[in-house]
């Protein structure tokens, strides 16, 4: 077995062109209200899957890794979080802006992003090397158990309000994945009278309909207008001096910084926990360990460093179970997993064993994307207020048109436009009644893998695999890990809130 730590793709110049494009794309999505990483990813998918795999990942992973500072900037400067992930940054970040010290907060956010975004991929690559050694002990039964564990853990952690609805959403996703020709049993199933569904529900209209469109429909139906107050926004004079000071201040809170990075990685690896949890835990831990004289919520810089480092470190962690065991911990990772499948790769232990260089490449590109994206975000800071002031009703119709064109060009089929509408209705109703669209997507992406593995295991061992010692040990370990981490997370969340 080889350890291709420095994949050759990294030395190709076109990768950096796509990386830069991705960073700019996600920069805009990071700042604009109503949309974020997830929407940026989904809209890009039909455009990128004609690219080579390294180019596609440079655009997607590099772009996402580079957007965290941009997303936090909107929270810190304008009190408009790009998503739940950056909500904790409002408390101390915006407080500093209100006092005319926005530069300090942004400088600290920039250095925390850089440190978190560099250490976390390096640690994940180290972890990958260990997992590669363990892989030889995993058979199809163990892989099936790990995938099922990931799905159930995601269902539990992503549906705190009503677990029944969470599990229902995941199972509905699994059921939708059974539509179309089954390669495992060589039978076409549930075609609903049309051959357009022969290859299953196409991913693009499904993702667009369930994840992107409902937000637009809901917003446009409400017809609200975002009012952006920019009275505290003065990016001149002392701002840049403050920025450099904030950049250095991060390294004075080394304990907060490192503990947030560890939290980010661990929570990221936990399926379903998500970056928002990392960010809130980073904040609550900072409140316990801060040594600065200000209280948290009153302009304490550790209230910026903690969540920001946890977010930057959480994204590479989030990718880890996706590539190692094909267990996506979030809707964004389910999309990445879907893209890998579209490209003919089978994520999980097989891919890791045979295409380790690609997996290492993914982590390198995240690290480089984080560095380039953060530096670019710093340069583009003056633009941020201009972009965010554009009304949603101005750009939403353009994005809707883009969604329809992207959906059509996937298979050049009008049927896909109808599917888009059907899934928009499904996603809208699910969100309205408290079901989880993220779990629906995770279930849909994992369905085929679970069925194929289950069938393989059944044919190889029958039901006796449940009694084998390695399986039993794995079940005990996974159960313990789940119970302990869920307890720890709910305890910390309570403290944080």
């Amino acid at each position: 077995m080889t350890f291709p730590l420095f994949p050759e793709y990294l030395f190709s110049l076109d990768i950096y062109f796509y990386l830069l494009l991705g960073v700019l794309w996600f920069y805009v999505f990071g700042i604009l209200p109503l949309v974020g990483t997830l929407q940026g990813l989904v809209i890009l998918i039909p455009l990128v899957y004609r690219l080579d795999i390294p180019q596609a990942f440079a655009l997607l992973l590099g772009g996402v890794a580079g957007m965290w500072l941009a997303e936090s900037t909107a929270s810190i400067l304008l009190r408009i979080p790009g998503g739940p992930v950056t909500v904790p940054l409002i408390m101390d970040g915006f407080e500093l802006t209100r006092r005319g010290r926005a530069g300090l907060a942004l400088g600290a956010a920039a250095s925390s992003t850089l440190v978190g975004g560099i250490i976390s991929p390096l640690f994940c690559m180290f972890l990958l090397s260990i997992v590669l050694l363990v892989l030889r002990f995993l058979g199809p039964a163990e892989v099936l158990l790990i995938v099922l564990w990931g799905l159930i853990t995601s269902a539990v952690t992503l549906s705190e309000k009503d677990r029944r609805k969470g599990i229902f959403s995941a199972f509905l996703g699994l059921l939708l994945s059974t539509i179309g020709f089954s390669y495992a049993s060589q039978v076409p199933r549930f075609l609903f009278g049309t051959y357009e569904l022969w290859e299953g529900i196409p991913m693009i209209p499904f993702f667009m309909g369930v994840l992107v469109m409902p937000e637009f429909v809901r917003y446009l139906v409400r017809g609200e207008k975002y009012v952006v107050k920019t009275e505290y926004l003065h990016l001149t004079g002392g701002f840049f001096k403050d920025f450099l000071k904030g950049f250095r201040e991060t390294f004075k809170s080394i304990r907060v910084l490192l503990q947030s990075i560890v939290i980010g990685i661990i929570v990221g690896i936990m399926p379903g926990a998500g970056l928002a949890t990392s960010s809130f835990l980073g904040y609550s831990q900072a409140s316990l360990t801060t040594k600065r004289k200000e209280r948290l919520g009153e302009g304490n810089l550790d209230g910026v460093i903690g969540p920001q480092a946890a977010i930057a470190a959480g994204f590479p962690g989030d990718l880890f179970p996706t590539v190692t065991f094909a267990v996506p911990g979030s809707a964004s990772m389910a999309i990445i997993l879907g893209l890998l499948m579209i490209k003919g790769l089978t994520p999980g232990p097989h891919m890791l064993a045979r295409q380790a260089s690609l997996v290492y490449y993914m982590y390198w590109i995240i690290m480089i994307g984080c560095v380039i994206g953060t530096l670019l975000s710093i340069l583009l800071l003056p633009l941020i207020a201009k972009i965010i002031k554009v009304q949603v009703t101005t750009w939403a119709p353009i994005l809707i048109a883009l969604i329809f064109i992207s959906t059509y060009i996937d298979r050049f089929s009008f049927f896909d436009l109808l599917l888009l509408l059907i899934f928009t209705l499904l996603g809208y109703a699910m969100e309205k009644y408290g079901f989880s669209t993220a779990l629906l997507v995770i279930g849909y992406v994992l369905g085929d893998l679970i069925e194929t593995q289950a069938m393989l295991v059944y044919q190889l061992y029958g039901l006796t695999f449940l009694l084998s010692s390695s399986t039993l040990i794995l079940v005990v370990i996974l159960t313990l890990v789940t119970v302990l981490s869920l307890r720890a997370m709910s305890g910390k969340k309570g403290e944080g809130s």
Binding site: F171, R189, F190, E451
Partner: protein, 141 residues
């Protein structure tokens, strides 16, 4: 909630149809979906009972009656595929955008500028991918 009960019921009807279909397939092909549907039945029964209890308790009844006027943007979005089918991507999207922007009371100048921007985007796509010109324009006299 009434809406939730209707939503889950519709999903159950589809699931029941799929269950009926799955009996026609060989055992290996029908087993996985049948197990999934059985679990869905169990979960939806629990969700429905909870929903009915909430309703009887008088709590959480949806009060957000959406006025007809507010639904217009959603209707326009749902009409867009038909517009594209009839008028093609260029004109279909242009009509959609003008109607939507005028609904939000944008000035004609802004509306035309934004529509031109979208048309430019559509044109760029058409350079790489064949976009249909619509049923009406493809009819020959």
């Amino acid at each position: 909630m009434k809406g939730e009960i209707i939503f889950v019921s519709i999903l159950l009807v589809v699931a029941t149809y799929m269950l009926y279909e799955s009996f026609k397939y060989p055992l290996l092909a029908g087993l996985f979906p049948s197990l999934l549907i059985a679990t869905l039945y169990f979960l939806s029964a629990s969700i429905l009972i909870n929903s009915v209890k909430t309703r009887r308790g008088g709590g959480a009844e949806s009060t957000d009656k959406v006025r007809l006027l507010q639904v217009t943007p959603a209707v326009l979005i749902f009409l867009l595929p038909l517009l594209i089918y009839l008028l093609g991507f260029y004109f279909g999207i242009a009509v959609f955008q003008v109607l939507l922007l005028k609904y939000f009371r944008y000035s004609w100048v802004k509306t035309i500028l934004l529509t031109c921007l979208t048309e430019l985007m559509t044109y760029l796509f058409s350079l790489a991918y064949p976009l249909p010109i619509g049923l009406i324009f493809s009819m020959t006299p």
